[in-house]
Amino acid sequence: MTGLILQRILSLVLTLLAVSAVIFLVMDVLPGDPAAIMLGTSATPETLEALRRELGLDQPLVLRYLAWLGGVATGDLGTSYTYGVPVAGLIAERLAVTLPLAVFAILLSVGIALPLGVVSAARRNGPVDYAAGLLSQMFIAVPGFWVGLLLVLVFSVSLGWVPSGGFPGWQAGLAPALGALVLPAIALALPQAGVLTRVTRSAVIEVMNEDFVRTARAKGLPRRQAQWRHAVPNALVPVVTILGLQFTFLIAGAVLVENVFNLPGLGRLALQALSQRDIIVMQDVVLFFAALVIVMNFVVDLSYLALDPRLRTRA
């Protein structure tokens, strides 16, 4: 089992290396000269050249890549062209918004999807099942940012329960900070919850027909207990797989939703950096996103070992 985990960590590092090369190449072919954007249109060719040298942009591609990689490996993510501060600090600061937002959204979507999917499976083809089916189709079909706008209209503009956007910062206290994240988290969570409900339902229905659920009933377990104690744990592998895949969409969705709600998160940082050709920030943020996704997949693989004891001995 430790052998398997070590093997996975090695492939994780190799994947990240490949991803970093792709990111670097894509950023390099991106049109727009960072030096020209920083200095504006009035800059002379001499000052431009000087700035390029200062930024290291005059070096060959491979050297620039290795310099970046070396920096990342030693924890030095470089200095932002536009903010003039270390990128590592910038990411850490924005992560304090995006990470809680993502965790909040995942918890919400699992909290909605798991009970709804299990109840749908138990009352298959009943009114609850049809209602849940309709609801999840709606969640899937409607884009998250539009749900966000709608939520703002109802809960901030009309009812005034929560702010329509912005983030007071964690130093303002837990309640105001979480309050600012409620609507964005809902907007992010609903489409995920829709997909997850359908997956949970079909996985549980399949496992409900297994012999061991009947064995559980033969012990005198009521239907609901047989379902939650025996069917659900064995239906979690496909559910967790989908949850892991959805994490990518969650991050992509965070970029949109952070902009709709004016949240100072990583997604907004990425968008701002892109419009200002702050290439070093772009590279670091995208690499960070990629690392998050890869680590998440690793966590999903590890969770299989926890969920299915058969895999543990094989590993």
Binding site: E210, D211, F212, R214, T215, A216, R217, A218, K219, G220, L221, P222, R223, Q225, R229, H230, P233, N234, L307, D308, P309, R310, T313
Partner: protein, 326 residues
């Protein structure tokens, strides 16, 4: 009079057809079983024997329904709601299933699967129930019970898994044990040991046993009485010795001829020609009439009634009394 442990009367089991109609799979079923008694139910695949045992547990699939009466200690199980049945399942009736591979939850330790019923039904603490599970594993002759109780089913052999199945069924000391083909999926060498364990435990606990099998050898070894089923009908019932040595129904005789045994001069194994009819394509009259070697024209006319030759001995065949096969 003493109420028997189990009395089944007029039981019929139906399945919902695709066109909204109902088709009877089992009909005119009846049996009684006293406390501590052993009954073997024998029949080919499709004879309805597994559905019969599931009906007693109240665990028929959703599209299958039962009518009639299944009286356990005088209470009609078919009239009970699921909540009431939950206190019967496991506590009064234990069941052992055919496939030890699929009948156990792959994601729960075997000890917890044995302990679970005692925790949820009898309110034991998990700690006490897990201790009891180790005792039960020991009783089903599991070596190193304390260690194996913490393992998952995939780490056990087929025979060991079936012992776990027996321990689960035994955990709440039921008055009646139903074993549905408990050894069919096992190697022959393991079969004998599992049957031996089952028989010992049954004697110790004074449990009644219904053993469902297609294997007459297994029934002969384990059960004092035998009921022969064919196409959802009782064909013959009686003391196992009588049924096996003096069969009254041509179907029972056919089954006995089909048991493989050492032949004096290497003769061919006999079979019953044809297969069990599907419940939709049952012949008119006696359900065995299209395969029966002894049939006469009258066999195709009406379904023969269940008749009792002597107390405890019953048969469904118009030729069973009086004239013998030509």
């Amino acid at each position: 009079m003493d109420e028997p442990l189990l009395r089944i009367e007029d039981l019929a089991i139906f399945i919902d057809g695709p066109d909204g109609g109902r088709q009877a799979i089992v009909a005119d079923m009846a049996l009684t079983l006293a406390a501590g008694e052993t009954l073997g139910i024998v029949g080919e695949s499709g004879s309805g024997k597994s559905l019969l045992s599931l009906a007693v547990m109240g665990l028929l699939p959703a599209a299958v329904h039962a009518t009639g009466r299944i009286l356990l200690e005088g209470r009609n199980l078919l009239a009970m709601g699921d909540d009431a049945l939950c206190s019967v399942r496991g506590r009064r009736i234990g069941m052992i299933f055919q496939e030890p591979l699929t009948a156990l939850n792959p994601a729960m330790t075997v000890g917890d699967q044995i302990a679970e019923g005692m925790v949820i039904q009898q309110g034991l603490s998990w700690r006490a129930a897990r201790q009891e599970a180790i005792v039960l594993l020991d009783r089903v002759r599991m070596p190193d019970a304390a260690r194996l109780s913490k393992t998952y089913p995939h780490a056990l052999s087929g025979g060991q898994r079936q012992r776990v199945g027996i321990a689960i069924a035994l955990a709440m000391k039921p008055a009646l044990m139903i074993a549905d083909e408990p050894t069919t999926a096992l190697d022959v060498t393991v079969q004998a040991e599992v049957l031996d364990i089952l028989d010992d435990l049954r004697r110790d606990a004074g449990m009644a046993l219904i053993l469902v099998s297609h294997d007459l050898g297994v029934i002969a070894r384990m059960c004092a009485r035998t009921l022969v089923l064919y196409a959802g009908r009782r064909m013959e019932e009686g003391a196992t010795r009588d049924v096996l040595t003096k069969p009254l129904n041509p179907y029972t005789r056919g089954l006995l001829r089909a048991v493989p045994r050492r032949q004096p001069e290497g003769g061919r194994l006999q079979t019953i020609p044809g297969t069990v009819p599907s419940f939709a394509a049952r012949p008119a009259g006696c359900c065995f009439s299209d395969r029966c070697p002894d049939r006469i024209d009258a066999c195709h006319a009406d379904e023969p009634p269940w008749t009792r030759a002597t107390p405890g001995r019953g048969v469904r065949c118009i030729r069973a009394h009086g004239e013998r096969a030509p």
